[in-house]
Point group: C2
Chain length 432, copies 2
């Protein structure tokens, strides 16, 4: 029998789960600080809720879609956390706006598994529903930048930005591309295949002259204020583009760390539902692609409700971020247990006293293991050091008769016998 998880799925062992929980709790703290509250939608959605929202590739190839075996009704595993949010908002017209929510949860995509890409992966989303203003887009960027800093990625990342209206204005209106999607897909591969690769693909799609004009547009890349100014000068008569340019300019103006921003005309984002500013967070190293992305989606809720509700948000791809961080040594999986103390009962007779000591230490909040295998003390010690537990608490007949415990800290090389009643302070010191 196949004992591995299904292809593209994985078990997350303690050392990785401990790291992921630590990162999630830091992200969550930042999200809450900005006034986002949790909303949790189910893993399973009606297929028709997801249909027609993401674009062709997702819809036909990437969504885990299945029939209810008992009713023939079509369901799907959520593909992201945004469309389920839109459904929630659509079904709660009474909700006061703005609605600011976060959700940190797995989503499922039928991807070809590869480095940093799984079929089940965590997204950490923030969304602001109800505000059409650049303030909301700027807050999304600020919370994401703070989140990256809170997990220790300070400095080593850039936030690439663009606007769907700029793309539409330039590529669809000025260049007259009636079906821009293949072009967007081609320029989206700039980082992967380089400018010559993109040019070759564009020439195949559009012919050489149009390909050259697209390549020229890709030179709009760099410090956002400069690029937006150049865009204003060269494309100031394009109404749609200007809408995007002015909106983005206000966003840039409100971002706490504008030096992290890069305007990038090659940034298009794959999902159909974006309508305004879009963003991606790219780590300086390793070159693993984006670890977060998002944008404004003013029409998505309107697809589900009878009213239009503007919204903007972003999503951190937690598993890819963690893989990348572990690879460059930013994160470590060296913590293999939360356990702080292993109580070693020296003789089988001291077993009950060992349990009493463990209980006492737990009541003070320490994480404690005690022997459950009726092992000798050597085995108990060997396991404690294999798990990397920092402190041993020896308990034998002497300790029992004197109501004491003997601590040993491996890292400090210190051994000390103390009355059980005074063990708390000593243990805190040994663990500090």
């Amino acid at each position: 029998m196949e004992l591995r998880p299904p292809r593209g799925f994985r078990d997350v062992p303690p050392e990785l789960a401990i790291l992921r929980k630590e990162i999630i709790s830091r992200l969550e703290a930042v999200y809450r600080r900005y006034g986002f509250d949790p909303l949790e939608t189910p893993a399973v959605e009606h297929w028709e809720v997801l249909a027609g929202k993401y674009g062709e590739e997702a819809e036909q190839r990437l969504i885990w879609r299945f029939k209810d075996p008992w009713s023939d009704r079509e369901y799907a595993l959520r593909y992201d956390l945004t469309v389920p949010l839109a459904r929630y908002v659509a079904s709660h017209p009474e909700m006061p706006l703005p609605f600011k929510r976060y959700q940190i949860a797995p989503v499922w995509r039928h991807e070809e598994p590869q480095r940093g890409r799984y079929r089940e992966f965590y997204q950490a989303d923030v969304d602001i529903v109800g505000s059409p203003y650049p303030e909301a887009d700027a807050e999304v960027i600020n919370v994401i930048v703070d989140a990256m800093e809170a997990i220790g990625v300070s400095g080593g990342f850039r936030v690439m930005i663009n606007d769907r209206r700029v793309l539409a204005g330039l590529f669809e209106e000025e260049l007259g591309l009636s079906d821009p999607l293949p072009v967007y897909r081609a320029i989206d591969r700039l980082d992967k295949v380089g400018p010559e690769g993109v040019r070759a693909e564009l020439e195949r799609l559009l012919g050489a002259p149009a390909a050259s004009r697209v390549m020229e547009l890709l030179s709009f890349r760099g410090e956002p204020r400069d690029v937006l100014e150049r865009l204003r000068m060269e494309h100031g008569s394009n109404k749609r583009a200007v809408e995007g340019i002015e909106h983005l300019a206000q966003v840039v103006d409100l971002v706490k760390r504008p030096s992290a921003l890069v305007f990038d005309m090659a940034l298009v984002r794959g999902l159909d539902y974006y309508t305004g500013p879009i963003l991606e967070v790219v780590l300086d190293r390793p070159a693993i692609g984006s670890v977060a992305g998002g944008g404004r989606y003013d029409n998505l809720i309107g697809l589900l409700a009878k009213r239009q509700v503007p919204a903007t948000g972003a999503s951190i791809g937690l598993d890819r971020l963690i893989d990348a961080g572990v690879e460059v040594g930013l994160f470590s999986t060296s913590k293999r247990t939360y356990t702080q103390v292993v109580v070693v009962n020296v003789t089988p007779e001291s077993f009950r006293y060992a349990w009493r000591v463990a209980d006492q230490l737990r009541s003070w909040g320490f994480s404690v293991r005690v022997d459950l295998m009726r092992s000798g003390q050597d085995v108990q010690r060997r396991k404690a050091s294999r798990w990397g537990v920092p402190v041993l608490a020896f308990v034998g007949p002497q300790e029992e008769s004197a109501n004491t415990v003997t601590f040993y800290s491996q890292s400090k090389g210190e051994r000390v016998t103390v009355p059980l009643g005074e063990a708390r302070q000593v243990l805190e010191r040994l663990l500090s």
Copy 2:
């Protein structure tokens, strides 16, 4: 279009998600204190891993089973967290034992939805893999009892216990039932249909004389030491039952709060994989059935691996527990936001200063919202009070020119203007 989640699924709005997160974090703290570490298995499993583990009903009616639309391979959503754990252990023979893990995550069952019963619900599991001894079963009971107390259910619950070997010894060997499952299913309904209902069903299944003997066995219920002593006296020659009796007696002896324990012969537990002690936690009120359950499953890992590995564990049914707790007023969903402060900008011109104040307060760790809707101050205030935010921070031209902020605490009825640099202490006091 249907905007509600699929039947039996639900959206968890902020006030309920905040409560659930609080309860999860308390459970997690208790689990860690006992030295359990996180292991996270995927939502999707190969069907054949789940098949043949739970029993007929689960396998045929309750498991969400579907084909990979692209490969015809059969998958299933996990039905619990125990069988995936067994798969993980089976595929990691190198793992040092005991392996103590916890997992708090959703599982999926195709149940008929009803009060406290959903098709997606959270389980909070602890398991000890590797120990065949009563110490491990006792530790599982202790951690569950501590967990119940940590979330405030102190005193108001009982832990029902029994042992599968006692059941097998008495019902299968002494009464000679070759297929005891329908009988177990009948006695399992004792709390729902009462003794007369059970007797009627048993008479239908077995005839009156055998039904009477089963009903007699159900009188073994009460204080565990007494009941186990009576069982020893009346069934001491039944080897299989005695194995269970002696194992349970040792468990009872190690449990921190034996007064919470009730031996109950009618406790059978539905899942096929249990082999030794079994337990269920029942709240005194409301009468909603069990909120936690578990037991020893010494053969489950052996079904997947070539080696036998004993294991024992328990699972808290989080959503049912929360529903019950909210119903009796033990838990409250009155906290609708984590936000502690809403910065109200009094005039549009003070907008930037309002953002600066919000940033400053966030940098101290406070949860802060600031206007994103370009609303007037009345609207900003009204929303803050609708969300139940405790403190307002007014920011207008006066505050801006003096570099101050004016706090207003609704609950304390206090209004105070302070320099921004000194706002931290004042705000801490207003929130305390």
